[in-house]
Amino acid sequence: MSRKTPVISFFAGGLVLAAGRAAWAIERFPPPDFETGHQLPPTERTAGNPGWYDALDITVLFAALSVGAWLVLKARSRKGVVGLAIACLVYFGFWRNGCVCAIGSIQNVTLALFDSGYALPVVVGAFFLLPIAFTLLFGRVFCAGVCPLGAIQDLVSFRALRVPEWLEQPLRVLPYVYLALAVVLAATGSAFVICEYDPFVGIFRLSGGVAMIVFGVVLLAAGMFVVRPYCRYLCPYGVVLGWLSRASLLHARIDPTKCIKCRLCEDSCPVNAINLPDERVDVQANRRRLVLGLAVLPVFVLAGALLGYGLASPLSRMNTTVQLAERMHAEQAGAVEGVIKETEAFRATGASVTRLYADALAVRRRFAWLTPTAFALLGLMVGLKRVRLSVPAWRDEYEIEASRCVACARCFEYCPHDARNVALLQQLTAEQRDDPEVVALTVGGIDR
């Protein structure tokens, strides 16, 4: 069997899985439409999850986060993190069908903030807050192996390619865009796009739309070579955790007193989270770039606000009230032929159409200020990212960039100061230990 065969089989299988399961899941048909004398049995409704399920979910989440923190910070065990990822993937992913999910909880929290009529479920609030609390304390241990979306991507990676910084940085703008869209649409009660476009929930449930499953399979396929593409280039919750992890108390660090600058961790990190020492800082040039970066910052903010202003109308069309109002108006004006089920049902309610238009206008007005605000903030974040790239921090030691580090624990396996590696290195002569190449070969090659 050639080396490529298993890869091709995996892709083909995934795509077929997408098509087949999607069809299986969404196909329904009505009962016979003529009299046969057959009495249709009453429709059975499955009861919702029992209340203790929520408590169990919260307990499992808390336990998984605690174990994750211990594995990353204390045990420094990559194998342990992988084990945790498998367990959480099975429980939160395949068993609990990917819902409730901390990533999607952003939308629930946003809606609760903007709509007093929406009560935030306790379990959703817990899924939003617990990862944040653990991130503030221990770094992104949630991303390490607790999040089923991160876990499934992490587990399929096998030949990680390093994404160059010039590509990594712009791609990391996309989660900000996604976050802005998700917040605007959730705040207006229009859509939970993070859930609607969750790429892996279809795989967890073995059902879903074709596009959804294909998207998930494509991401997994990409994830074999580019570790965690969704986490790095799309995940809006990752944006939040990334900000907060900068302030985390105990996230994984490189001990400068022990670091021998062997550069093994640098090469082992698949998410470019190891910052290299940089002693060639040109202070004058940095100052010029800083001034220029700050000067153009308002341009980014203004461009974002203008873009948001323009997008308010198209985005508002994702709101069902606006959609209904548009369709009603088109039907009334004769711009379209026939009626659709939604308009027919609306007519049957007898609700006032002027009230519908008033409601749609109210939604549109919310979009009118929320979208420019969100996109102005997006512009600000992108502008600041540019400023930060212009003015690099001076450092003479290797450092883990907390905002990028997903606490996957890969680097620990290659650190000569890892307890297991210390034992191996002790078998070397002093001369051999001074040779980085020998050290590298001793602690192992790259096997991700």
């Binding site: 899985l17 299986w24 096998f158 010039w166 323009g310 159409v353 206008l361 290659y414």
Partner: protein
């Protein structure tokens, strides 16, 4: 995995091609059944085909489901194999080359900085494309204009308390007043003196006269110092609210609910008008219905609460039955077509929201008679008549309480009630007296008598404690004794035509001719004419009597007649 995949792709393709919903085979058989509806073998063939298709469909679904699990399992094995493959082919780290990254850092950052700018530009361009291609066809300015009725602060709406039983009596909430009986509850109103003399030409005792923008033969209703009525043409429908004190038009609202595209226009005779149904009020809301099935509710300040179209009723003269409110529900009689068409129904809607509260289908033909609500010892009854039924319903549930068969003809006159009897006119035929204390079919058990004296065709009858008065369109007025159905007296108004129904005010009966002349007679065992007045404008609607004032709708004006105290 590849083999499983091929099988699944085939099953997926076949799933749609042979599903029971889109099956051409089944469609063809069904089309044949339309032409041959009694072909039993064909029906059996359809059943068998349908069953076969469903079984095949479900089998394919099961195959796909099994295949999905196999693929998942294969995927897991594949990933493990890949991992093992990578482990066996691990490469040695060469830190020396990695170190070059450190040297490249400033260059990498420069490129990244510009790449971020490029990405921002790409986001911007994508956004512009989205704006250009997906902006809403309904601008905010249009929405604002369309929703103008709801932009007024609702807080300005005067809060109305739930009306008590007395308020239903002192006001004139629907066609022919409380209960729809044409009897002024003088005592409840405080025994006001109603005018017995007026002259439209000289404006004598005419407190005010106000123009009505659009015509219609519906009658005015009155509540809380406001007079409501509707008007319409073929293309416009409106509701009006006047100040009862001075006749100022307080508001005028169009009724233009959402309708199914292609809604059939109603056939409306000139004699019926496009606004024949009288509006109804419940103390907080006014409701109006029109011959095309438009139904709307407004609060007393003119805010539209809801509006809907019930579909154009099949009625060859035009829908004319009036609305009546019961508590917070609006009752809509919607008899149409013929009794075997299964089109007729009686429905109640929540007054505030317009949601249907109940709906009772009726095997009846189109009717122009309006419902009445009567008090019986057993409770309130909603009485409705349409060929072939006179029937009573519980107004809060729509449950039929009793029915009397044999009601025939094109029913224009509404029923009335007195002394425990419902009186129903079979146009140009007879007057029936039916006791209202029965249940189920009372045709043979509760029909007290039938009188063939002077049955009208349009004007509704009027009853006092002892007699039923009937007035034909061409002016024959008869009094029939309630006790036995015998004719008491009759009088012919020569050269006068009548469309408005008579009203009993104490012992006086007010009659309005189509030319605007009014006769006031004494209700009794003899015909006694006490007064004649002239409004000076044709009258087709029944007047409203509230607080000593008579509100009369002429062809063009709404009149308020009030006689100053001497």
């Amino acid at each position: 995995m590849l083999a499983v995949g091929v099988v699944m792709i085939r099953q997926h393709a076949l799933l749609h091609a042979t599903g029971p919903v889109d099956s051409l085979e089944l469609k063809a058989l069904r089309e044949r059944l339309v032409d041959e509806p009694l072909d039993e073998p064909l029906k059996e063939q359809i059943r068998l085909t349908d069953r076969r298709l469903r079984e095949t469909f479900l089998q394919r679904q099961r195959t796909l489901s099994t295949g999905a699990y196999l693929l998942l399992f294969g995927g897991i094995v594949g990933v493990l194999a890949l991992k093992r493959h990578a482990h066996l082919h691990k490469r040695a780290v060469t830190p020396g080359t990695v170190a070059l990254n450190a040297i490249d850092q400033p260059l990498q950052r420069d490129r990244a900085r510009w790449a971020v700018v490029v990405m921002s530009g790409a986001v911007l361009i994508t956004g512009v494309v989205v704006i250009a291609s997906m902006s809403s066809p309904l601008s905010s300015a249009q929405l604002s204009a369309l929703s103008v009725a709801h932009q007024r602060p609702i807080a300005t709406t005067r809060t109305q308390a739930t009306p008590d039983a007395r308020q239903w009596l002192v006001n004139w909430p629907n066609f022919r007043g409380p209960g729809g009986l044409g009897v002024v509850p003088l005592e409840a109103q405080g025994n006001p003196a109603y005018p017995t003399a007026w002259d439209g030409g000289s404006q004598t005792n005419v407190r005010w006269r106000a123009e009505v923008p659009l015509g219609g033969f519906n009658s005015p209703v009155v509540w809380g110092g406001r007079v409501f009525l509707s008007g319409a043409t073929e293309h416009e429908r409106e509701v009006y609210c006047y100040n009862a004190a001075d006749g100022v038009l307080l508001w005028r609202r169009k009724v233009d609910p959402l309708r199914r595209p292609g809604l059939e226009e109603p056939d409306v005779m000139e004699e019926t008008s496009y606004a024949a149904s009288t509006v109804a009020v419940d103390g907080r809301r006014v409701y109006a219905i029109f011959p095309n099935g438009d139904l709307a509710a407004f609060d007393f300040e003119g805010h539209e609460l809801w509006a809907k179209n019930l579909g154009t009723p099949d009625n060859h003269y035009g829908h004319a039955a009036s609305l009546i409110a019961f508590g917070d529900t609006l009752i809509v009689p919607f008899d149409q077509g013929y009794d075997d068409d299964d089109l007729s129904y009686l429905a109640a809607f929540d007054g505030a929201k317009g949601e249907q509260v109940w709906k009772t289908p009726r095997a009846t033909s189109m009717s122009w008679a309006s419902p009445i609500i009567v008090d019986t010892p057993a409770g309130k009854q909603l009485v409705v008549m349409a060929d072939p039924l006179l029937a009573a319903y519980a107004p809060d549930t729509g449950e039929q309480l009793w029915r009397c068969r044999g009601i025939e003809g094109e029913l224009g006159p509404s029923p009335t009630f007195s002394g425990g009897y419902v009186f129903a006119v079979l146009p140009d035929a007879e007057l029936l007296a039916v006791r209202a204390d029965g249940s189920d079919d009372v045709t043979d058990t509760h029909t007290a008598w039938a009188s063939d004296a002077g049955a009208p065709d349009i004007v509704s009858p009027l009853a006092d404690d002892e007699r039923v008065y009937q007035l034909t369109t061409d002016g024959l007025l008869t009094a029939v004794r309630i006790a036995d159905g015998e004719l008491v007296w009759e009088h012919e108004f020569d050269d006068h035509d009548f469309m408005a129904s008579p009203t009993l005010v104490g012992e006086a009966i007010y009659l309005f001719t189509t030319k605007g002349r009014a006769f006031i007679i004494i209700a009794g065992d003899e015909f006694v004419l006490t007064a004649e007045c002239d409004l000076g404008e044709p009258v087709h609607a029944s007047p409203a009597f509230v607080g000593g004032r008579i509100y009369v709708r002429g062809d063009r004006h709404l009149f308020c007649i009030e006689q100053p105290e001497p």
